[in-house]
Symmetry: C2
Subunit: 443 residues, 2 copies
């Protein structure tokens, strides 16, 4: 009887290091399941985050655990995958290893960089302190804390000007995140808050969405942009297009020449790719994204793939592909499959993005959907949005919890997670050091 | 037709200030619903917390929003109640007003202090940094972060001694909180973690419960203490009774003369009442609780009631009543009703505690219950515990979510909320600055 060939020992298998546990990195890891490689996925968070629903955590609709799952448990059944919690500080492409901030180094035969993007303040980094962006769970909890504290402060405030400023919320940026944030803040501050707070009526609250371009949701067809704008205005959001932000401070925003007194500004205007291009010594575009070839490999680095928000890849018509979860997922899968092919001696093919359509939600039972020839608005688009997001959410438990929570919120108009937590949450929310006695009872 | 008597205007109504939105304060507010008073409830958090389930947030079983609800929305329908977010710094009983840290003052005709307790380190405050206690949502999230980070660090650690220390968890204090924490950490670290982490087997992990007295759950009958100990030991918890903690540092606990190398210590050993007694200039017992009369009023202060963990009230047999949710609730209700009676000229009666029984859970499908003549252990006690806690949880939404989550966790052995979040969560969990290359792949 002939001896059966031994499977290669783990030590002899090619090592694939994937940096980033977002949509791109996870898709790459999964595409390598069952392949004769050792996969190591590194992320500085212990969880994969379903970013499309992050704005609902920021506006108290969902809890962090509803839209995040430990990367370890997502990959628990994939025997060739290891997960490392750590922060990558650089890549040595000559020695083929990834450096971590604690001094460890991860050697690789193939590398996938899926490190995503952070928000960018267009060089005005001093705005970061006053206008938090929305990329991580901690970002979302910080925004939730700010919005809820502004309402608490307004409830106890007797000075009309300060009260008005506390009840004014500005969202900068009219892309999907900005539109969704503005709609959700309007619902939270105007509807839920007016039930909880004695002195806050729906009419007291202003939500202003500032967009530098001529319309919101610029990536959507014009008709859907107009529908989104109408939807926001129905919720009471003031939409300012062709309006550029000139200054942001702790208690105001200057936009289009107008001074808006506000204590709560949310940044949804721009993103900057992670430093992957710098690590590799590559040319980057204006948003810091690494220039890669059609097969997602940078020129001269045949064992490195860059995917998702940190890669600049030309789409149809020569325009770079947008920073969407669907793009990252498909690119991650492409990179994983390409590595599996390389092991068998096959050169990687060109990446082709398959566009399944775009969705953005505006508020309760209102959304826009663009599926190319089919365009939806209103309740139909919203129902499609709900089904699509539940479908793509990782884990049966999260799908069930989020679905049940949405149903509950839809039926009751409640928002369950209106909690102010966090080490930097001031125990006392007052802005004015000395207020008249009895002020709390006057409300 | 005779003119109907006008209801008294809000301004003329007696003002009742309640400090604290826990079980005692909320019960007092609710007991005053419909009475001709203006109720102001002050708390430094915006939410009421169901503390009996806090250990499940600390061990990733539940999310913060599942066991907490905004005080405003709990009291939204009670028309005579106002909620103020603020930190009380003192009481001026002569001027009859409560001072807040922002300079505001709340005048009262009647005052209810329901300010609860914090954990106490018996004068060893330097232990606080290494052995966090469990009283607030932020405490629970900090413990969750520490436990999960210890597991992450252990997964990447190659030094056997350091690895052993990272996989050793010490719980100080064998009361209900300590027993519940030890059991839940054992389940998390031994069962869930061994699925997620490649190198952590159930046998690697040690959970040690240190109790200074002769038995755990000292307030329960001896037979139930013994059953709880057996239950913990079945989960792999090492129970050390008659064992006093002598020192706690970042990487060790010295208890009963033994040096235990550990990076994760949880404090469940003692509580200290809030400074209510000091505010009122009253005598306090060893735990800082204010001495009050049988009607819950301190001597010489007929318009002040002190309830819950911050009051020292004699129970049957002359022993002070324990710091339980049931005691706080009944005392809060008593104070509210007594104030309603005083308005009608009735002197308050003596408070009588009605003991409905005590429950403590040990782990999955295991608990002890003491209903006086009826004593339960094992699954029956656990089922009773589940039903009782769902019943007492505030809000239909929370009841539904917690019930569904428990069912899910019971059926799947999963723990959904295994997220490391928080501003002080180190992005990189390494303990050792320079570790050998390839260590992450060796796991």
């Amino acid at each position: 009887m002939p001896a059966r060939p031994e499977p290669p020992s783990p030590a002899a298998r090619p090592r694939v290091v994937i940096v980033g546990g977002g949509f791109g990195g996870l898709a790459a890891a999964r595409a390598l399941a069952g392949e004769p490689v050792e996969v190591t996925l590194v992320d500085r968070a212990n969880h994969h985050l379903f970013q499309p629903l992050l704005y609902q955590v920021a506006t108290a609709g969902l809890s962090p655990a509803d839209i995040a799952a430990p990367i370890r448990s997502i990959l628990a059944c994939q025997k060739n995958a290891h997960v490392v919690l750590g922060e990558v500080t650089g890549v040595d492409t000559a020695a083929r290893q990834v450096a971590l901030s604690d001094g460890r180094a991860l050697p690789y035969e193939y590398l996938v960089l899926a490190t995503g993007a952070r928000h960018s303040y267009f060089g005005r980094d001093e705005w970061a302190a006053h206008a938090p962006g929305l990329k991580t769970l901690d970002d979302a909890l910080a925004i939730r804390r700010r919005v809820l504290l502004a309402l608490e402060r307004a409830e106890g405030e007797t000075d009309p000007a300060r009260r008005k400023a506390l009840l004014t919320f500005v969202v900068v940026g009219g892309g999907p995140t900005g539109v969704e944030m503005a709609g959700a803040i309007a619902e939270l501050a105007r509807q839920s808050a007016s039930e909880d707070f004695r002195s806050i009526m729906p009419g007291c609250t202003r939500v202003i969405l500032v967009e530098g371009g001529p319309r919101v949701l610029a990536a959507f067809p014009e008709a859907l942009s107009a529908a989104a704008r109408r939807g926001l205005e129905r919720l009471g959001v003031e939409v300012r297009t062709d309006c550029r932000v000139e200054a942001i401070s702790a208690d105001s925003v200057v936009a289009g020449g107008e001074h808006i007194a506000t204590h709560t500004t949310v940044w949804a205007a721009g993103v900057m790719a992670s430093p992957a291009a710098r690590w590799l010594g590559l040319a980057a575009d204006r948003s810091g994204r690494a220039q890669v070839g059609a097969d997602l490999r940078p020129a001269g680095l045949p064992d490195v793939f860059v995917v998702g928000d940190t890669a600049c890849v030309e789409g149809p018509g020569g325009r770079p592909l947008p920073g969407l979860a669907a793009v990252a997922k498909q690119q991650g899968r492409h990179a994983g499959r390409a590595i599996a092919g390389l092991l068998r001696g096959r050169a990687p093919g060109a990446f082709a993005y398959r566009d399944w359509g775009s969705l953005a939600t505006i508020g309760r039972a209102s959304a826009v959907a663009d599926f190319g020839r089919v365009r939806l608005t209103g309740f139909t688009a919203w129902a499609t949005w709900c089904v699509a997001h539940l479908w793509f959410l990782a884990g049966y438990r999260n799908r069930f919890v989020v679905g049940a929570t949405w149903l509950w919120n839809y039926l009751t108009f409640e928002r369950g997670a209106r909690l102010i937590t966090g080490a930097d949450a001031p125990a006392t929310p007052s802005l004015s050091p000395a207020q008249p006695r009895q002020e709390a009872l006057a409300a």
